[in-house]
C-alpha cells in the first residue's frame, strides 16, 4: 500500500455520463490486483474533506485507470482534471477477485458503473477460460461496456438488448452454460447484488460480489464500512475484508 501523488495523463469522456481517468502511478500500478480499489484525494486543499474510493479499472504499464460518473462535488472535480494536474492515490486497497483457480467460464455481471473493476479482471483471466459479460442498466444510457468483451446487454425498459434486469438475463444465460463449470463475478448497485446473492445461494453457484458502501479511511482504521457477516454475528469491513466477498459470506 502506498500514498502516491500521481500525475493525471488524461480524463476522457466516454459517453454523456462516464469518464475514464488515466494517471501515472507506477508504484500502485505495479502491485494492484483486479477488484482492488484506491482511495483518492481529488483536490490539494481540504475540500472535499474525505478521499473518494474508486475501483482500479485497469492497469497498463505505469498507468492506472479509473472509470467514474459525476455523482457529487468530488467526482465533478475529478472530471475537470487536465493533463499535468495531480491526484493523490492511496492504495491498492482491499481484497480483489479470486480468479486464477479451477473453473471454465467467467460470467461477469455488471450493473451501471459496476463495469469499473472488470477491464482489469478480464485482462488477467487466463486465455484458457471463457468470459461472458452481462451488462445491465435502467436504459441504454446507463449501459457501460468499456473494456468488456463477449457482451450481452439488459435494460429495464428494453431500450437495448434483453428487456429486464441483468439478473433476469443471467438466469437466461445460465441455461446455456450450466453444463460448464462457471464462476460469477459481479459489481453494481446493492439491489442488484442482493437479488444475485439470493439466486446464486439458492443454486449453490460460485459467486463473488464487489460491494460498495460509504467509507472514510479505506484501510481499516475508522470502522466506518461494516457489512453483516452471513451468520449475522459480527461485522466484516468492506474496505479490508472486501470489497470483494463470496456471495455467501455476507448479508447485504
Amino acid at each position: 500500500m502506498y500514498i502516491e501523488k500521481a500525475f493525471v495523463e488524461s480524463v476522457e469522456r466516454l459517453d454523456e455520463e462516464t469518464y475514464l481517468m488515466k494517471v501515472f502511478s507506477p508504484a500502485i500500478a505495479c502491485i494492484a490486483k483486479p477488484g482492488q480499489f484506491c482511495n483518492i484525494k481529488v483536490s490539494e486543499n481540504d475540500f472535499p474533506l474525505l478521499r473518494r474510493p474508486f475501483s482500479i479499472c485497469n492497469v497498463e504499464g505505469d498507468y492506472a485507470f479509473f472509470l467514474f460518473d459525476i455523482h457529487g462535488e468530488g467526482t465533478k472535480i475529478l472530471s475537470l482534471k487536465k493533463n499535468g494536474d495531480t491526484v493523490e492515490l492511496l492504495g491498492p486497497l482491499g481484497k480483489g477477485f479470486i480468479y486464477d483457480d479451477d473453473y471454465e467460464t467467467a460470467v461477469i455481471v455488471a450493473g451501471g458503473l459496476g463495469t469499473a473493476p472488470f477491464p482489469f479482471l478480464i485482462k488477467n483471466i487466463s486465455d484458457e477460460k471463457n468470459i461472458i459479460c452481462l451488462v445491465g442498466g435502467r436504459s441504454k444510457k446507463q449501459i457501460i461496456t468499456y473494456g468488456l468483451k463477449n457482451i450481452a446487454i439488459a435494460t429495464d425498459n428494453g431500450s437495448e438488448g434483453f428487456k429486464g434486469t441483468v439478473i433476469d438475463l443471467l438466469k437466461e444465460e445460465v441455461k446455456n452454460i450450466s453444463k460448464k463449470k462457471f464462476r460469477i463475478f459481479a459489481c453494481g448497485p446493492n439491489a442488484m447484488l442482493k437479488e444475485l446473492q439470493k439466486y446464486s445461494i439458492e443454486n449453490n453457484f460460485d459467486c463473488q460480489i464487489s460491494v460498495e458502501c460509504a467509507m472514510a479511511c479505506g484501510f481499516g482504521i475508522c470502522q466506518g464500512c461494516p457489512v453483516d457477516s452471513a451468520n449475522g454475528e459480527s461485522y466484516l469491513l468492506v474496505c479490508k475484508d472486501g470489497p470483494v466477498f463470496n456471495a455467501n459470506e455476507v448479508k447485504l
Partner: protein, 305 residues
C-alpha cells in the same frame, strides 16, 4: 539554533512530543503503521475499550458533512481481554506512549476495565471516555452530568496510580465546570473535545443518513468550537489539557497549544492522510526553530489576550 525540546509532561505523563493519535481513529495501531512511523509520535490512544467485546452500530455509520464527518461507530471494540491477548503484543513493539481509552455503561464497568488493564506495563495512562455520543445506555448521560463525571474520576483513581485523563463532552454549557470536577476528584488531565452531536438526512428517502440517527461531528468544521472549549478550561481551571478537534496540519496544532493544550490528538485527518502525525511533528519542529522556541511546552497557553 540547537535542537528543540519537543517533550511534554501532562500531569505526570511524559511524552516525547505532543502529537497523539486520537481514540477511534487508529484502531489498535497495526493498519496505520503501513503508512507512517508510529515510533516518531508522542503516543497512541486506543479505540475505546469496554469490558466485553462490542459489535458496534449497524451501517451506515459515517457520512461526510461540510468540512467534517459524522460517525456512529458505536464503540465497536474487541473488549479488554482480547485487547490484552491480541493487540498489546503489537503495541509493545512500538516506541511510543500507549494510552488506553475506556468506555463503559456504568461506573463499575469503568473501574473494572481499568483494574484489569492496570497491570499491563505497556499502558502508560488511561483516557476515560465519558462522552461518546453514540452509545445509548451510558456515554452521553455521564458526560453531561457533573456528579457522574466526579464519581467516575474518583472511583477510577482508587484503582490505578497511572495518570488518568478524562475525555470531556463538548455538548455542555460550561465545560470548565467538568474540568474542575475532574481536578477535584484526582484526575491528572482532561482531553477536549469529543465529537459534537449532529445528524444528516436524505431528502428523498427522509431517512437519517446514519442508521443510529445522530452521530458525532468531527473534522475541521469543529475546530473553532474545540479551540473555544480548550481556552475556556485554560482560563478557569489549572489542569493539563489535551486538545482535540479539527486539527489538520501543524498550524492548527500550534493554534491548539496557544489556547492552552499541553498536547493534542489528531483524529479525522488520519483517515485522509495517515502520515499526518509525522508531518505535523516536523512542522512543529520547524516552527519552533524559526521562532527560537527552545521548549515546545512554552507555546502552551501562550495566548495574548
Amino acid at each position: 539554533m540547537n535542537k528543540v525540546d519537543l517533550s511534554v509532561n501532562i500531569g505526570g505523563l511524559k511524552l516525547k512530543n505532543p502529537v497523539l493519535l486520537a481514540s477511534g481513529t487508529v484502531g489498535y495501531g497495526n493498519e496505520i503503521a503501513e503508512f507512517t512511523d508510529l515510533n516518531k509520535l508522542g503516543g497512541i490512544v486506543t479505540k475505546s475499550l469496554s469490558l466485553k467485546p462490542r459489535k458496534g452500530n449497524p451501517p451506515q455509520r459515517i457520512v461526510e458533512t461540510p468540512s467534517g464527518m459524522l460517525n456512529a461507530i458505536g464503540l465497536a471494540n474487541v473488549g479488554v481481554e482480547t485487547f490484552i491477548k491480541e493487540k498489546i503484543p503489537f503495541l509493545k513493539k512500538i516506541d511510543t506512549t500507549l494510552i488506553c481509552n475506556i468506555a463503559a455503561s456504568s461506573v463499575e464497568e469503568y473501574v473494572e476495565c481499568v483494574h484489569i488493564l492496570n497491570d499491563e506495563e505497556t499502558i502508560k495512562a488511561f483516557e476515560i471516555n465519558v462522552s461518546c455520543p453514540n452509545v445509548k445506555e451510558g456515554g452521553l448521560e455521564f458526560g453531561n452530568d457533573l456528579n457522574a463525571v466526579g464519581r467516575i474520576t474518583e472511583k477510577v483513581r482508587n484503582v490505578t496510580k497511572k495518570p488518568i485523563i478524562i475525555k470531556l463532552s463538548p455538548n455542555v454549557s460550561r465545560i470548565s465546570d467538568f474540568a474542575r470536577v475532574v481536578k477535584e476528584n484526582g484526575g491528572n488531565a482532561v482531553s477536549a473535545i469529543n465529537t459534537l452531536v449532529g445528524t444528516s438526512f436524505d431528502i428523498y428517502t427522509r431517512k437519517p443518513r446514519i442508521k443510529n440517527v445522530t452521530g458525532g461531528l468531527s473534522g475541521p468544521a469543529i475546530k473553532p468550537v474545540a479551540l473555544a472549549k480548550v481556552l475556556e478550561i485554560k482560563r478557569n481551571i489549572d489542569i493539563p489539557i489535551i486538545g482535540i478537534g479539527g486539527i489538520m496540519n501543524w498550524k492548527d496544532a500550534v493554534e491548539m497549544m496557544i489556547v492552552g493544550a499541553s498536547a493534542f490528538q489528531i483524529g479525522t485527518v488520519n483517515f485522509i492522510n495517515p502520515n499526518a502525525g509525522v508531518e505535523i511533528l516536523n512542522g512543529l519542529n520547524s516552527f519552533c526553530m524559526e521562532n527560537s522556541i527552545k521548549n515546545i511546552s512554552d507555546i502552551t497557553g501562550s495566548y495574548q489576550i
